[in-house]
């Protein structure tokens, strides 16, 4: 955030006190074009409500929504249904006596048809039927982890309530500290995704829009340095990045008590690298497109694989191991992994040179190709 504070007053000074000529001839310095381009870009962004919403508000809403939906429940409550019959009440009593010392079990008694229907719809993790001969039948779904877990837990409870003695004495220590929860996994992923989104749209889309409006052509018809224009676009991304990252991180820390193990400087450096990398990819995506419709499609095609594979909402470990080298070569994967390692584990940047290299290569190659192919008109 320190960077924002130092930048903002300088820019304000530019806008509030336009260089008033004291002498009739007004002279512009080397960086006058760059400063005005940057300031114009920031004014435009500030005055575009959609930008404010998508860049700043939307990620916070997403984090809040997902954080609440996937918050860790106080204790995993196993919800089971007991099929009504001769042994039903006895089963219920056994479960309740067992549940006192075990984890919470919420058991409901329903008739056979209703119980099985509710189980199939996922309302219960397990259905228990006591047979006339005193044995039990469990109905469970092997594809649902909570159902599998529930079967094991209920079986243990019933066995021990029926008198089974444990052969080993065990004890367990609970561990659900900040840092290991879903929200802690999610926020760095959202940071990475947001850097990708705003880099691709903020650079790629904005450029094609200016090209379509013939504004790029109008700019190159002046003595404006083309490098100043691209530099100003990149700088505006970096300034925006500091605000984006700052907001989302503060939100995670203040609302969800997310731990910030690594240094804020490392996070900002990573954010800068990410913003510049995706700015480069955005520039490449937009280097020749003439219409905003075509660049919108291109941007989505570029981003879609990374939304899915790069571990924004869930770990890419769920994909087959053979795909991992490819997934890790994606820039968003490198950025997300690096952000997670820095924020959650407190890893230093020096220990993540591989990921930084992936980002730098994507950014560098994109910039070089984009500048070679770029069309101003």
């Amino acid at each position: 955030m320190a960077t924002t504070e130092t930048n903002a007053p300088k820019l304000n000074a530019d806008s509030n006190q336009p260089p008033q000529p004291i002498l009739p001839a007004r002279q512009n310095g080397r960086w006058s074009g760059y400063r005005h381009l940057l300031w114009a870009r920031i004014l435009e962004l500030k005055r575009e409500p959609e930008v404010v919403f998508w860049v700043f508000i939307f990620p916070l809403l997403l984090a809040a929504g997902l954080g609440i939906a996937f918050r860790n429940k106080p204790a995993d409550i196993t919800s089971v249904v007991v099929i009504d019959g001769a042994g039903a009440q006895k089963t219920l009593a056994m479960l309740q006596s067992a549940s006192v010392k075990n984890s919470a079990v919420r058991a409901t008694v329903l008739d056979r048809a209703a119980a099985l229907k509710a189980f199939h719809f996922g309302k219960f993790d397990l259905a228990i039927e006591s047979n006339p001969d005193g044995s039990y039948t469990y109905y469970y779904d092997p594809a649902r982890p909570e159902s599998v877990l529930s079967r094991a837990e209920i079986d243990a409870s019933l066995q021990s309530a029926a008198g089974r003695k444990d052969a080993l004495t065990t004890s367990a220590q609970s561990s659900s500290e900040p840092g290991s929860r879903y929200i802690d996994f999610l926020i760095p992923g959202l940071l990475g995704m947001n850097l990708m989104n705003s880099g691709m749209w903020g650079v790629g889309f904005a450029l094609v829009e200016m090209r379509q409006r013939k504004l790029l052509k109008r700019f190159v018809a002046t003595p404006m340095r083309r490098s100043d224009f691209l530099l100003a676009l990149t700088s505006s991304r970096l300034i925006l990045m500091v605000i984006e990252v700052g907001l989302l991180l503060s939100f995670g820390v203040l609302v969800f008590h997310m731990p910030l193990q690594g240094s804020i400087v490392s996070v900002i450096l990573l954010g800068s690298l990410g913003a510049v990398t995706f700015g480069g990819v955005g520039l490449l995506t937009a280097c020749r497109a003439q219409k905003i419709e075509s660049v919108s499609g291109l941007i989505n095609v570029v981003m879609m694989p990374m939304w899915i594979f790069s571990g924004v909402f869930f770990s890419y470990d769920r994909f087959p191991a053979i795909a991992h080298p490819f997934i890790k070569a994606l820039p968003l994967t490198a950025l997300n992994d690096a952000l997670r390692a820095t924020i959650i584990e407190g890893a230093s940047l020096g220990s993540q040179s591989g990921r930084l290299l992936v980002l730098a290569i994507w950014g560098g190659v994109s910039f070089i190709l984009a500048l070679r192919w770029f069309r101003w008109t």
């Binding site: 504004l215 018809a221 003595p223 008109t377």
Partner: protein, 318 residues
């Protein structure tokens, strides 16, 4: 230092097929307002964008004050001001911010206050560009061209789509620039604009210059400065085929003081030196041939007549 704008044998072929400009040469002198007049699609915009260094010609050479665009593009850009045919400036910037942005690209620009004053935008200096009227937007576009104190002003169709009052305002601005010693190159398909504003002009059609000169020189080529237009109805309907039409035209051509004749639908247009000699003879001829005169008017010849004479088409054919 060479002439402000000079080009020789410019050609531009798009995709190896469409020939937009086909061997065009021009020389524009300092302080001149030069017009490229032609219908839509004649190659005016392609030509002006090549001269502005925004398009590379397929062949041919451009010199601005004796320099080619490859020599020192940045210096040339300091010397010229451009208004493109269509630029949508950022709608969320204010008028003043837009002018200052463009001013920041030049080494020694005008003061923003002066340019606002000159372009009659002072009242609107804090308005968002998106809220301006068409005429105000166009004046802003021209002010972004003038803010760098250019020596040459390039204007591509500066008044297309504007109301008459906005057009006149813009003409005044162009004249003021010219009076201060600036050189202007503009394209237009409005003949009245070309006639009033341009010292010299080139009529462009199919990528070539088909006539060049001062507006009055070009009108002189018609032979007469007046146009007599009339319609006749015929009682005996022996006419109607091409031969007798041509015979008719020959008859009108033989009237006194007539320089040229053409037919547009049912109207006959005579280019005439001295209408007071032609009209009495015309009336006699009509009566003698048993025709009725249904319509008769005379007017000053215009560049439109020149264009029609040269191409057989009108400038604006929708």
């Amino acid at each position: 230092m060479g002439s402000p704008i000079e080009c020789t044998n410019l050609r531009k072929t798009y995709d190896g097929k469409v020939e937009a400009v086909r061997g065009l040469s021009l020389r524009i002198e300092a302080g001149e307002c030069f017009g490229l007049l032609g219908p839509n699609g004649a190659g005016k915009t392609t030509t002006i964008e090549i001269l502005e260094g925004l398009l590379a010609p397929t062949s041919g050479e451009v010199r601005i004050f004796g320099h080619t665009w490859a020599d020192n593009p940045r210096q040339l850009r300091e010397w010229i001001g451009i208004s493109l045919q269509e630029t949508r400036l950022s709608e969320k910037l204010r008028v003043r911010e837009t002018i200052e942005l463009f001013a920041s690209f030049y080494r020694e620009p005008c003061s923003t206050a002066d340019i606002l004053e000159e372009l009659q935008l002072t009242d609107k200096s804090d308005a968002w560009v998106g809220k301006l009227s068409g005429g105000q937007k166009q004046r802003l576009a021209v002010s972004t061209a003038l803010v760098g104190k250019p020596r040459i002003l390039f204007l591509d169709e500066p008044t297309t789509g504007l109301d008459p009052q906005s057009r006149r305002q813009l003409w005044d601005i162009i004249r003021v620039f010219q009076q201060k010693g600036g050189t202007v190159l503009l394209t237009t398909h409005y003949m009245d604009e070309a006639e009033r504003l341009c010292d010299r002009l080139a009529i462009v059609d199919h990528g070539e210059i088909i006539a060049e000169g001062t507006p009055s020189d070009l009108i002189d080529r018609l032979g007469g400065h007046h146009v007599v237009e009339f319609q006749v109805s015929k009682e005996a309907s022996t006419n109607g085929n091409g031969d007798s039409n041509n015979a008719d035209l020959e008859r009108w051509r033989s009237l006194p003081s007539v320089e040229s004749v053409r037919r547009e639908d049912s109207t006959v247009c005579l280019s005439v030196r001295e209408p007071h000699l032609t009209i009495p003879a015309l009336l006699d001829a009509v009566t003698n041939h048993g025709h009725h005169l249904e319509h008769l008017s005379t007017r000053q010849a215009s560049l439109e007549d020149v264009f029609v004479l040269l191409t057989g088409r009108h400038l604006r054919e929708d």
